[in-house]
C-alpha cells in the first residue's frame, strides 16, 4: 500500500479562507495543490495539520469536504484513506474534518 505525507506547514504558516479568490493560502488551494494530487497518487494519505495556529471552518470544509466533491467519491472511502495528525490538544479538528467529509454532499442537517 503506497502512502503520501502532506504537511500543512509546507503549504503555509497561517491558513486563510475558503476560496482562492479570498486571498492566499485558501482551503481551495490546499485541496487542489496538495490533497487532491496526494489522493490521486496514493492509497493512504497522511495529513499533518500541526504547526499552524488554527483553521477557519471554511478552510477545512473547502479542503476536506471539497475533496469529496472534487473526487466525486463516497465520503467513507475518503475518510478511510485519510490519516490526520494534529496538535495533541487539538482533537476537535479531527472531529470537525470528519463532519465536513461526512456532510460534504448533503450539507449540514437543518
Amino acid at each position: 500500500m503506497n502512502l503520501v505525507h502532506v504537511r500543512i506547514t509546507d503549504f503555509c504558516k497561517y491558513p486563510g479562507g475558503r476560496y482562492a479568490k479570498d486571498g492566499k493560502y485558501s482551503g481551495e488551494d490546499f485541496r487542489e495543490n496538495y490533497l487532491k494530487p496526494a489522493f490521486e497518487k496514493a492509497e493512504l494519505v497522511v495529513v499533518d495539520l500541526s504547526g499552524v495556529p488554527g483553521f477557519g471552518s471554511s478552510f477545512l470544509e473547502e479542503a476536506f469536504g471539497g475533496l469529496v466533491r472534487a473526487l466525486d467519491a463516497e465520503p467513507k472511502s475518503v475518510w478511510d484513506r485519510l490519516r490526520l495528525r494534529v496538535h495533541p490538544e487539538d482533537i476537535s479538528t479531527i472531529s470537525d474534518i470528519r463532519y465536513y467529509i461526512e456532510h460534504a454532499k448533503t450539507g449540514r442537517p437543518k
Binding site: P15, G16, P53, G54, S57, S58, F59, E89, T106
Partner: protein, 320 residues
C-alpha cells in the same frame, strides 16, 4: 497631509488655544462631534449606539461634501470607552479619511483612563501622533489593525499575544474566530459603497482586560440582516436582532449553500458550551449576546453602520 492636534494634559482652557476656535485650513469644512458618558457597546449599548451615531453622521456628512473636513472630536466628557467602540470609531475615521482634530483630555477626571483605552488599541498610533499616556510596563497590549484588503497582516503579533494566558484549545478557537470574522466580512459585508466611498475598511483588534481576552472585528459593510435578506427574500423575520439570532443558529446564512455557513454557527456552539466565554454582535439595530447561560437579543435605538463582532474568553477558565 493629516494634521492632528492632541491636547495631552488637563489644562486650563485659557492657557491653550481653544481647539474648536483653531483656524481651519483653507478649503476645509469644520465639523464638531462631542461624545460623552460611558461609550461602551458591551455594557451600555443603547447609549453607545447613540453616541457613535453622532460620529457616524458627522463622518457621513463630511464624506458627502466635496471639500475635506476638519473633524473635531471632543472626547473630554467620555468616561469609558470599550474596545468595540474604539474599533468602530477608528474604522469610521479611516473610511472617511477626514482630517481630525482630537480633544481627548480637558477637564474630565476619567480622561487618563479613556486615553489609555485609546492607546491600547493603537488609536494614536493610527493617527501618527505620540500617545498621551505614559507607557506602563505592558507586554500584552496589541493594537487594532485597520485593513483595506482581505487578510490580517500581523499574524505573528496576534499569535504571540494569544500564547500568554490561554489554553491551547481556547487560543486556537480565538484564532479560528478571527479568521471567520475576517472571511465573513470580506465575503458578505464589504460589497458596494457608502455614498461615493467603497466599504473597504475593516479592523481587527485584540485586548486583554483583567482575566479576559477580547478579539473584536469591526467592518463597515452592509450588516447581517441586509446580507441575509438578500438571500432569504420574503422571510417573515422582523428586526435586526431577530436576524442575528437566526444567523447564529446556523439556520440562515448568506450563501444559502448547504456546505457553507459553519463559521458563526460553530463559534456560537463553542461559546454556549463553556463558562467564561461570551460572543457579542452588533449589526444594524440589533445586538446579540451569547454565553453559556443566556442568549439575549436587544434592539438598539440607533443603527450601527456595518457590524461589530466580539469574542471574549476568560484567560483563567476557558476549556471545559
Amino acid at each position: 497631509m493629516r494634521r492632528v492636534a492632541v491636547w495631552l494634559r488637563k489644562v486650563q482652557a485659557r492657557s491653550w488655544p481653544a481647539p474648536y476656535d483653531a483656524p481651519v485650513p483653507k478649503g476645509y469644512v469644520r465639523a464638531r462631534v462631542e461624545l460623552e458618558g460611558h461609550v461602551n457597546l458591551a455594557w451600555n449599548p443603547s447609549h453607545a449606539a447613540e453616541q457613535l451615531h453622532l460620529l457616524r453622521a458627522a463622518v457621513e456628512t463630511s464624506s458627502a461634501r466635496q471639500a475635506p473636513t476638519s473633524l473635531y472630536l471632543d472626547l473630554s466628557r467620555v468616561e469609558a470607552l470599550d474596545s468595540a467602540s474604539i474599533a468602530y470609531m477608528m474604522a469610521l475615521l479611516a473610511w472617511a479619511d477626514c482630517r481630525a482634530d482630537f480633544h481627548a483630555a480637558g477637564v474630565c477626571s476619567k480622561a487618563a483612563r479613556v486615553n489609555e483605552a485609546l492607546d491600547d488599541l493603537g488609536f494614536w498610533r493610527r493617527l501618527g501622533v505620540p500617545s498621551p499616556v505614559v507607557r506602563r510596563a505592558q507586554t500584552h497590549r496589541k493594537c487594532l489593525q485597520l485593513i483595506s484588503g482581505s487578510r490580517v497582516e500581523n499574524y505573528e503579533g496576534l499569535w504571540k499575544f494569544l500564547e500568554s494566558g490561554l489554553s491551547y484549545p481556547d487560543r486556537q478557537k480565538l484564532w479560528d474566530a478571527l479568521t471567520e470574522f475576517v472571511m465573513n466580512a470580506v465575503d458578505h459585508g464589504l460589497s458596494g459603497s457608502i455614498g461615493s466611498r467603497p466599504r473597504r475598511w475593516f479592523g481587527v483588534g485584540w485586548t486583554r482586560q483583567g482575566h479576559s481576552i477580547q478579539a473584536t472585528l469591526v467592518d463597515l459593510g452592509v450588516g447581517f440582516s441586509a446580507t441575509l435578506r438578500r438571500r432569504w427574500i420574503g422571510e417573515a423575520v422582523k428586526g435586526d436582532d431577530a436576524w442575528l439570532l437566526l444567523a447564529t443558529t446556523g439556520k440562515r446564512h448568506a450563501s444559502g449553500r448547504s456546505e457553507r455557513g459553519y463559521g458563526l454557527f460553530k463559534l456560537a456552539e463553542f461559546v454556549r458550551a463553556g463558562a467564561g466565554r461570551t460572543l457579542r454582535i452588533w449589526s444594524g439595530k440589533g445586538m446579540l449576546t451569547i454565553n453559556s447561560k443566556d442568549e439575549q437579543a436587544v434592539r438598539l435605538p440607533r443603527r450601527v453602520l456595518g457590524s461589530v463582532i466580539q469574542l471574549e474568553l476568560s484567560a483563567s477558565g476557558g476549556s471545559p
